[in-house]
């Protein structure tokens, strides 16, 4: 197109402009290559979900959708279940290389290596009914959110309604004393309870700690400085567990890791155990007759008149060593948007219960009525460190099974007082 003739001054500026344009055209490819310093890929590590559909939904629906929207590929790294996720996470943090964001199991070990995600968490909380307070104990460190809670794996008493009815226990026991009575009746009929007390991470903590709490005992005081475990109530709780084991439980259960109670229940060896709802799902799929008679009950109340549940949290964090933490955060923000979050949670059949009040009454809970009680867990659910902070020392107590072993040592012959004293001194040594 012919340019109108210009006076000398503008011709000079035109030449400058043209030169700039020419330079720009020449430099174009170089600049656009550098502008693509956005990551081409984000790696997201998560332990494999019990409900396979949850992982499938992520891989087939969410990841491609994000790639379409932003051009960034999401690599979904499924980690093995059964305790190997934590070593991999620890390894990643130590070597400053690995996934960009992850389900940060045992985040108390490496919170300092996680990026501040308060902006995301606060926004999500505001948008979706507010967070349950208890989860902040885990995700908030020194006033900053270090992880965004994704959901809770609820743990309740799984029991065989047909056998309970047969033994004359018409409604699920409301107190621990009633629980013991029911267990005695059922064991007499050849259907003992199977309460996990071995070196697992969920099915032991999910009833032993709530039991202690319902007796009015906590491991540490609320500042996490003083050991609160040595009290007469602890001795009562230990004596109760001894009785429960001897009179109502199958012999094997003091050595049970987390999968063992599933196996025992599905092979009709036990009538009750504390677990997530994986047993019901397996039964519905493989043993339909048993699937029809499985029910879920809340943890019984203790002498304090209270009942408690243990939370098993799933939280997502972004690693500071990531090449582009901001992109990882953007992805996390997108994931937690109700447009993505709600269908994803639904694809998992509510196995992961959101810690957001907006989900308290959603219709998804009514699809399978026996899943609904798992939402109730959030009301009385506490982190295992409650009321103390969920810090590294707490993690050490958990990973060395100090409180669990207190119970099993008493069962296998150590005098109750000694077992408690040993546990207390070990915990004192850890907290320093």
């Amino acid at each position: 197109m012919a340019l109108p003739t210009q006076p000398k001054a503008t011709r000079r500026s035109f030449v400058k402009l043209a030169a700039a344009a020419a330079a720009g055209v020449a430099a174009g490819p170089f600049i656009s290559r550098n502008a693509q310093a956005k990551p081409v890929q984000i790696t997201f590590a998560r332990e494999s979900s019990y409900v396979k559909n949850f992982d499938v939904h992520f891989q087939n629906v969410l990841a491609p959708a994000y790639e379409k929207a932003t051009g960034i590929k999401i690599e979904y790294q499924v980690q093995a279940a059964g305790g190997s996720a934590v070593p991999q996470l620890v390894s990643m943090v130590e070597n400053k290389s690995g996934a960009d964001l992850a389900w940060v199991q045992q985040e108390w070990l490496y919170r300092d290596a996680l990026v501040d995600v308060s902006d995301i968490a606060e926004e999500v909380g505001k948008q979706q009914g507010g967070w349950y307070d208890e989860i902040k104990r885990l995700s908030v460190d020194k006033g900053k959110w270090k992880s965004v809670p994704n959901g809770n794996i609820g743990q309740l008493m799984n029991y065989r309604k047909d056998w309970f009815d047969e033994a004359g226990v018409k409604s699920f026991p409301d107190t621990w004393d009633e629980f013991l009575e029911a267990g005695i009746k059922l064991k007499a009929k050849g259907h003992p309870f199977g309460m996990s007390m071995g070196h697992g991470f969920a099915d032991n903590y999910s009833w032993l700690y709530p039991l202690l709490w319902s007796y009015g005992v906590t491991v540490m005081d609320k500042d996490g400085k003083k050991v609160a475990l040595d009290s007469s109530e602890t001795a009562k709780a230990v004596e109760y567990v001894k009785k429960l084991y001897k009179q109502a439980c199958i012999e094997d259960c003091i050595g049970w890791l987390d999968p063992a109670n599933n196996k025992a229940f599905l092979t009709s060896q036990i009538s009750c155990t504390n677990n997530a709802y994986s047993i019901m799902v397996s039964a519905k799929r493989d043993l339909p007759d048993m699937g029809k008679v499985i029910e879920h009950g809340l943890n019984p109340k203790g002498p304090t008149g209270q009942r408690y549940h243990a939370l098993v949290p799933v939280t997502h964090g972004v690693f500071a060593y990531s090449k582009d933490p901001q992109s990882a955060k953007d992805f996390l923000r997108w994931l937690m948007d109700p447009k993505q979050y709600r269908p994803w949670i639904a694809s998992g059949d509510m196995y992961f219960a959101p810690y957001l009040h907006a989900f308290d009454k959603v219709p998804e809970w009514d699809i399978e009525p026996r899943v609904k009680p798992f939402q109730k867990v959030l009301e009385t659910g506490k982190l295992t460190s409650w009321p103390a902070p969920a810090n590294r020392q707490h993690g050490e107590v958990i990973n060395r099974w100090i409180v669990i072993d207190m119970f099993t040592k008493a069962i296998t012959g150590t005098p109750t007082k000694t077992a408690i004293a040993e546990a207390v001194s070990q915990i004192k040594a850890i907290y320093g």
């Binding site: 070990l109 300092d112 025992a264 990973n399 099993t408 296998t412």
Partner: protein
């Protein structure tokens, strides 16, 4: 083979009287025993220094530090070891490891010797039998251990079903549910897995004993037991010693089996030093303390091996 035994006790090889054909001055230099040796040794030594030496030194170094995940390390001298000295779980792990290793090794060695003696006869399908007998050793440990979890199940497992069906018990024992039974179970699974290794190695040793040794012993009037005691056993001793030593080391460091089967429970009755070190480093994030446990394995193992050597020397 006696000539070979003699030969290996021969004195140092003298340098050849004349140069090999076709080598120049450099070649002659390389031909010198020490130069040739060191040239050959350099690549493997470099590899080991890089991939074994460096991690080892770092590991030892870590054990003198208080090192938590994602935090800087602080020097604590012997602090970690003092902590372990006062830690009842640590001492239990030490006891468990020694018992586990000792009993399993004795079972594997004697069972392996028996297997080798049986297999040293000729019969049809021998190679097939040999391959079958080796299967426990070949299958990845993790997988066979997972299978054993079910075999040891108190209600559904093979053992207890057989016990009940044969009328030997009303219900079988809880194989993984009491401290004593759990230890018995892990020893049993380890023995099952490791016995073929002993068997096949000792068998190889048996087959290298020259027939004429046996013949001359028979001529001298020795019966089957006599031949075993005076010919077979002494000739086998080096093989048995090597295999036993190696097995003790591997068993002492065993990790997978307990990790999968019991996680160290019940009540720490099956926690081995290896699993305890792992749970401290990776579970509690205490890498310094975990390394200290791992490092402590070396002197304890050394002690066991010294005892073994003394025991053998007594013969």
């Amino acid at each position: 083979m006696s000539k070979i035994l003699e030969a290996s006790r021969a004195g140092p090889l003298a340098a050849p009287a004349h140069r090999p054909i076709g080598l120049g001055r450099l070649g002659a230099f390389v031909e010198r025993e020490s130069v040739f040796s060191w040239l050959m040794l350099t690549p493997p030594l470099l590899f080991l220094l890089a991939f074994l030496g460096y991690p080892f030194i770092y590991g030892v170094y870590l054990s003198f530090f208080h090192k938590e995940v994602a935090r800087a390390a602080e020097f604590v001298g012997f602090g970690n070891f003092v902590k372990l000295y006062n830690d009842p779980i640590f001492w239990q792990a030490v006891r468990n490891t020694i018992i586990f290793t000792g009993v399993a090794t004795v079972l594997k060695a004697s069972g392996g010797l028996g297997m080798a003696l049986v297999m040293n006869q000729s019969f049809r399908m021998k190679s097939f039998a040999r391959a079958m007998l080796l299967l426990p050793f070949i299958v990845p440990t993790v997988l066979s251990t997972v299978a054993w979890q079910w075999i040891l199940d108190p209600g559904m497992g093979l053992f207890n079903r057989l016990l009940v069906v044969s009328g030997l018990a009303t219900t079988g024992p809880s194989w993984l549910g009491t401290p004593t039974m759990a230890m018995i179970s892990i020893i049993m699974v380890n023995t099952w897995r490791g016995l073929p290794f002993f068997g096949i190695s000792i068998l190889a040793g048996l087959q290298t004993i020259p027939v004429d040794l046996h013949e001359s012993a028979t001529i001298d009037g020795a019966g089957t037991w006599g031949r075993f005691r005076y010919v077979t056993l002494p000739s086998l001793l080096p093989v048995i010693l090597i295999v036993t030593t190696f097995s003790i080391v591997i068993t002492f460091f065993d990790f997978q089996l307990v990790y999968v089967l019991t996680g160290g429970g019940p009540a720490n009755s099956t926690h081995l030093m290896a699993t305890y070190a792992y749970s401290l480093s990776m579970g509690a994030g205490q890498m310094g303390l975990g390394s200290a446990v791992a490092l402590s394995m070396v002197p304890v193992l050394g002690l066991l091996l010294v005892l073994l050597t003394l025991f053998v020397r007594k013969d």
